[in-house]
C-alpha cells in the first residue's frame, strides 16, 4: 500500500505492545496513528436472563437430561444381562455391543450436553478479565536466583574444586553404560543375524508342498496358468515354524517353456516351464501374493512392486530393486516337485551385510 501522506507513517514497534522493558521487537513495525481498540462491546443479555419462563425451561431441560443419563446407565446394566452372548452366534455379540454402547453413550452424552447447556444458558455469563504478567521472573527474583546459585557454588566448592567436579562428571557418564550392554541378550547370544538370514529350510531333495496343508505337489498338478503357494515339506512340524516360513515361502507357477527367458546357469532351475520364486518381497518383506495370469506379473500388495516372471522375476515397477530369488527345482522319482538346493542368495528384504553374499 502506498502511503498517501508522504514520508513514512511507519515506526519500529517498541516493547509497548508486550511485557518487559528492553525487549527487541525485531523487524516489527507499527503505523504511527493506528486505529484504537474500542474496548469490550456492551454486554448482551440472553433470553434466559430476560425471560423467567425461558430460564425455567432451560432448568427443566437440563435436569431432564440428567435423569435421562440415569436411564442410560441403568439401560447399560440391563443390556448386559438381557442381551447375553450366545456361543456360536455372532448376532448376539452385535446386539450386546450395540445396546451396551448405545446406553453408555446416552448416559455420557446426557451428562455432557446437560452440563454444557447449564454453563451456557443458566450460569452467569459476565466475561471476566485477567491481567497477564511477563513470563520471566521479576528482576529481583532473578537476581535472588543467581545469588542462590552463587552461594551454593561457594558453599559446595563446585567450581573451585575442579578435580572433584570433573571426576563426578566422569562417573555420571560411565554409570549408564552397563544398561546398554544389559540389552544384548534381547536376542540369543550365539548367532550372527546376517548368517541366519542367508539360509532357508530348502535343500536338495526337499519336496515342495502346498501351503498350509503340507501335501506334496506332482508336476502334473501344476497346469498352465495356475499358481501354488508353497512351503517346504516338514515345515509344519518344525519348532520355529513361522520364522522358517517367513524365509521359505515360495510361489510356484507354470508358464510355457518358450515364454521363459532363462539366463545362463539357470537352465535346469525350472521343470518344463514350472518355476518357483521366493514369495518374500525384496523391498521390505511382504508376501508377493498377487499373480496376474495373463502377463505373468507378480504384484506385492504392500508397496506395489511388480516382478516379471518371464524375465526371472525382475522388477518392472515399484520401490523394490532386486528380482525375487529363484528356487531351483526338479522332480523326484515319484514325480513330486523337489528343490535342487537352497536359494543361491538371501531371500527377503535387503540388509547391510547382504552384499557379502552377492556373487
Amino acid at each position: 500500500m502506498a502511503n498517501e501522506e508522504g514520508g513514512t507513517g511507519l515506526v519500529p514497534a517498541d516493547a509497548s505492545v508486550s511485557h518487559g522493558r528492553d525487549v527487541s521487537a525485531g523487524t516489527a513495525v507499527v503505523q504511527r496513528d493506528l486505529a484504537q481498540n474500542p474496548g469490550l462491546p456492551p454486554h448482551r443479555p440472553r433470553t434466559t436472563d430476560l425471560d423467567p419462563k425461558a430460564d425455567k425451561r432451560s432448568e427443566r431441560g437440563v435436569s431432564l437430561l440428567f435423569y435421562l443419563s440415569i436411564v442410560g446407565s441403568i439401560g447399560a446394566i440391563v443390556s448386559y444381562f438381557a442381551l447375553p452372548i450366545v456361543p456360536d452366534d455372532p448376532a448376539s455379540v452385535r446386539l450386546n455391543t450395540l445396546f451396551i454402547g448405545l446406553s453408555i453413550a446416552l448416559a455420557l452424552l446426557s451428562i455432557g450436553i446437560g452440563a454444557v447447556h447449564w454453563g451456557k444458558a443458566l450460569m452467569a455469563d459476565h466475561e471476566g478479565i485477567d491481567i497477564r504478567h511477563p513470563t520471566r521472573g521479576t528482576d529481583a527474583t532473578r537476581e535472588r536466583a543467581v545469588e542462590i546459585f552463587r552461594e551454593a557454588d561457594q558453599e559446595s566448592g563446585f567450581n573451585r574444586r575442579k578435580l572433584l567436579r570433573n571426576s563426578l562428571f566422569g562417573a555420571f557418564i560411565a554409570f549408564p553404560l552397563p544398561a546398554i550392554f544389559l540389552f544384548r541378550d534381547l536376542a540369543p547370544a550365539d548367532n550372527d543375524p546376517a548368517e541366519l538370514l542367508r539360509h532357508t529350510m530348502w535343500e536338495e531333495g526337499v519336496r515342495l508342498t502346498r501351503d498350509p496343508e503340507g501335501t506334496p505337489i506332482k508336476a502334473s498338478d501344476v497346469t498352465l496358468g495356475s499358481a501354488f503357494h508353497v512351503i517346504p515339506e516338514g515345515l509344519n512340524e518344525t519348532e520355529h515354524k513361522l520364522e522358517e516360513k517367513a524365509k521359505a515361502a515360495v510361489l510356484l507357477m507354470r508358464l510355457k517353456p518358450e515364454d521363459l527367458n532363462v539366463s545362463p546357469g539357470r537352465e535346469d532351475w525350472n521343470y518344463q516351464g514350472i518355476v518357483a520364486y521366493s514369495k518374500i518381497c525384496t523391498h521390505v518383506g511382504c508376501p508377493v501374493a498377487l499373480y496376474e495370469q495373463q502377463t505373468h506379473h507378480l504384484l506385492c500388495p504392500c508397496h506395489q512392486s511388480q516382478f516379471d516372471i518371464k524375465n526371472e522375476a525382475e522388477v518392472i515397477f515399484g520401490p523394490a530393486k532386486r528380482p525375487l530369488p529363484q528356487l531351483p527345482i526338479t522332480i523326484d522319482a515319484d514325480g513330486y516337485l523337489v528343490a535342487r538346493r537352497d536359494f543361491t542368495e538371501p531371500v527377503g528384504p535387503s540388509f547391510w551385510e547382504r552384499g557379502e553374499y552377492e556373487q
Partner: protein, 537 residues
C-alpha cells in the same frame, strides 16, 4: 447448605458445622488447598471453538486409559501357540498366538468386550487426529510464538509418542494385518545401514517374527509410553497455566489481558461436560462402527496377505513415502548393501519432522521479535507462514494419499503406475504450488478485510440520488466488528546493516533475504486517519 456457610460472616462460620465446611476445613488444614482454589478457581479462559481441539485430545486420552485398563485384564501378551476354541466359528481349531486368542475372546466371549476394544481403538484414532488438528490450529494462528516455543516442542513429542502408542497397540492382537505391518517395520529396520540387521535381530529376539515382540510391545504400550505421555501432558498443561491461554484479536482484547469466563463455575461445567460429550461420541462410534475386525484377518502367518493392505491412517504418510520411491534405488558398494529405497524415505520423513519441530525457532530468528505474543494471528494476517503451512500440509497429504495408491488405482480405474507418478509429482511440486496459491489467497483476503474495514459491506441496495446518479449503499461495520479486521502485527523486511566491526556477516545476508521472502508482500493495517476519511464519504 454449603452456600450458606460461605456467605455467612466469619465468626459464625467457625461456629456452624456443616458437613461440607467441616470436610473442607479438615482437608485445608492438611493441604492448604484453599490457596489453590483462590489462585485458580476464578482463572479466566478465553472462548473459541478451535481451543477445543486440544481438549478433545486430552479427553480421548483419558478414555484410552479407562478402556485400555479394562482390556489389560483380559489380554494375554504372549506369542505362545494355542489352538483357538472360542465362539467365532470360522477360526475354530486354528493355531494362533495366545495374544490373538485372547483378543478374539475379548471380542466374542466377554460381554461388552468388543465394545471396549472398539472404544479403545476409536479413542486412539480420535486422540491422534485431534492432536494433529490441534497442532495445525497452533501453527496457523501463530500460537507457537514466544513464550510458547517449548510447549510446541512438548506437544510435538506427544504427537510422535501418540503414533508410537498407536503402532504398538495396533500390533498387539498379532493378527494377519498387523503382522504384515510388523513385517514392513522389520524390512525397514534391516535397510538401515550398519546397525539395521542387529536392531531387527534384537527387537524380535531372533529371526522375524520370533516369539518375543508382542510381549515387548505390550510393555512399551501399557507402561513406558503412557508414563511418558502422562508426564508430558502434565507439563504441557502446567505451561498453559503459566502462560495463560492465548486469545483471538477482538474488541477489548489486548496482548496484556485475557478475556473470557472463569473456571468456576462456567468452565468447570463446559469443559467437564465436554469430556462426557467426547466420551459419549466415542461410545456411539464404538457401538455402531466396527474397527479393526481381526476375526476377518485371521492369525499372523508370513505367507498370506490380502489386497489393499494398509496401515492405520496415521502411519499412512510413512507407508506412502516408501511407495513413492522409483525402482532401482539400492546399491552394493564395498560389499555392503545401501538401500536408498529405505534410507531416503526415512531421511525425508525425519527431515520433515525436524522442520516441523524447529519452525517456531526459525520464525523467531527471521522476525527477530523477542516480545511475548498472546494475541493470535488470523492465518491471513501471516501470509508467508500460512503458505509454508499449506505447503507442508500438501506434502503430508501427498504421502498420505500414496499409502492408498492401490485403492485409488482400483476405485478410479487408473493404472497403478500413473497414480504413483501423479503422487510423485504432487509430493515434490505440489508444495510449491500450494505455497503460491495460499499466499495469494491470504493477501487477497487481507485486501478484502481492508476494504470492508474502510467502506463496509456491499449491501446490494441500489439507491437513485436526486441528481439521477445510482449508488450502491455500503453497510458500515460497527467499531467492534471493525477492530477484529484491524488488529494484527506488521513486519518489514530486515535491512542489511554492518555490525560493530563494520562488516556484513553472511548470516545477516541470509537472514535479510529470508526476511524479504517473508515480508516483501504485505498489507498495512488501517490507520485512524484513513478510517476518519472513509467515514466522511
Amino acid at each position: 447448605m454449603s452456600s450458606d456457610t460461605r456467605t455467612a460472616p466469619a465468626p459464625q462460620r467457625a461456629a456452624k458445622t456443616s458437613v461440607t465446611g467441616a470436610v473442607s476445613n479438615y482437608i485445608d488444614e492438611r493441604t492448604s488447598i484453599s490457596a489453590v482454589v483462590k489462585e485458580f478457581g476464578r482463572k479466566i479462559f478465553p472462548d473459541h471453538w478451535s481451543f477445543m481441539l486440544g481438549e478433545v485430545a486430552l479427553y480421548s486420552f483419558v478414555v484410552i486409559l479407562i478402556s485400555g485398563s479394562f482390556l489389560t485384564f483380559f489380554f494375554q501378551a504372549s506369542m505362545a501357540e494355542v489352538e483357538y476354541d472360542g465362539s467365532w466359528v470360522p477360526l475354530k481349531g486354528l493355531e494362533m498366538s495366545a495374544a490373538m486368542d485372547s483378543a478374539l475372546n475379548i471380542s466374542f466371549d466377554i460381554r461388552g468386550g468388543l465394545l471396549m476394544r472398539q472404544v479403545h481403538h476409536w479413542a486412539a484414532l480420535l486422540f491422534i487426529a485431534s492432536i494433529g488438528l490441534h497442532m495445525l490450529r497452533i501453527y496457523f494462528t501463530g500460537a507457537f510464538r514466544k513464550p510458547r516455543e517449548l510447549n510446541w516442542v512438548i506437544g510435538f513429542i506427544l504427537f510422535i509418542l501418540a503414533m508410537g502408542e498407536g503402532f504398538t497397540g495396533y500390533s498387539l492382537p498379532d493378527d494377519l494385518l498387523s503382522g504384515n505391518g510388523l513385517r514392513i517395520i522389520d524390512g525397514l529396520i534391516k535397510g538401515i545401514p550398519v546397525v539395521g540387521t542387529w536392531i531387527s535381530y534384537l527387537l524380535f529376539g531372533g529371526e522375524f517374527p520370533g516369539d518375543q515382540v508382542i510381549g515387548r510391545f505390550y510393555t512399551l504400550h501399557i507402561l513406558l509410553l503412557p508414563a511418558i505421555i502422562v508426564a508430558l501432558i502434565a507439563l504441557h498443561l502446567v505451561f498453559v497455566v503459566v502462560h495463560k491461554h492465548t486469545q483471538y484479536p477482538g474488541p477489548g482484547k489486548t496482548n496484556d489481558n485475557v478475556v473470557g469466563y472463569p473456571i468456576l463455575p462456567v468452565y468447570a461445567a463446559k469443559a467437564g461436560g465436554f469430556f462426557f460429550i467426547v466420551f459419549g461420541v466415542i461410545a456411539l462410534m464404538a457401538a455402531f462402527f466396527t474397527i479393526n475386525p481381526i476375526w476377518n484377518y485371521g492369525p499372523y502367518d508370513p505367507s498370506p496377505v490380502s489386497a489393499g493392505t494398509q496401515p492405520d491412517w496415521y502411519i499412512g504418510f510413512a507407508d506412502g513415502a516408501l511407495r513413492l520411491i522409483p525402482p532401482g534405488w539400492e546399491f552394493v558398494l564395498w560389499d555392503r548393501t545401501w538401500s536408498f529405497n529405505i534410507i531416503v524415505p526415512l531421511v525425508v520423513l525425519g527431515g520433515f519432522i525436524v522442520v516441523v519441530l524447529l519452525y517456531p525457532f526459525f520464525e523467531a530468528w527471521v522476525t527477530g521479535d523477542k516480545r511475548e505474543h498472546h494475541l493470535l494471528d488470523r492465518p491471513r494476517n501471516a501470509p508467508t507462514r500460512t503458505a509454508i503451512g499449506a505447503a507442508g500440509v500438501t506434502f503430508y497429504a501427498s504421502l498420505w494419499a500414496a499409502a492408498s495408491s492401490d485403492i485409488i488405482a482400483t476405485h478410479f480405474k487408473m493404472a497403478m503406475e500413473h497414480v504413483i507418478h501423479i503422487l510423485q509429482f504432487t509430493t515434490i511440486v505440489g508444495p510449491f504450488i500450494a505455497f503460491f496459491i495460499a499466499k495469494r489467497i491470504c493477501i487477497a483476503l487481507q485486501k478484502k478485510d481492508r476494504e470492508i474495514a474502510l467502506h463496509g459491506y456491499e449491501s446490494g441496495r441500489i439507491v437513485r440520488l436526486p441528481g439521477g446518479e445510482y449508488i450502491e449503499v455500503h453497510q458500515q461495520l460497527d467499531e467492534y466488528e471493525r477492530w477484529k479486521l484491524l488488529n494484527f502485527n506488521e513486519y518489514q523486511p530486515l535491512m542489511i546493516r554492518p555490525n560493530a566491526a563494520g562488516k556484513i556477516s553472511s548470516a545477516q545476508r541470509v537472514r535479510a533475504s529470508v526476511s524479504r521472502w517473508f515480508f516483501e508482500d504485505r498489507i498495512e493495517p488501517v490507520t485512524s486517519k484513513e478510517l476518519e476519511r472513509s467515514s466522511h464519504h
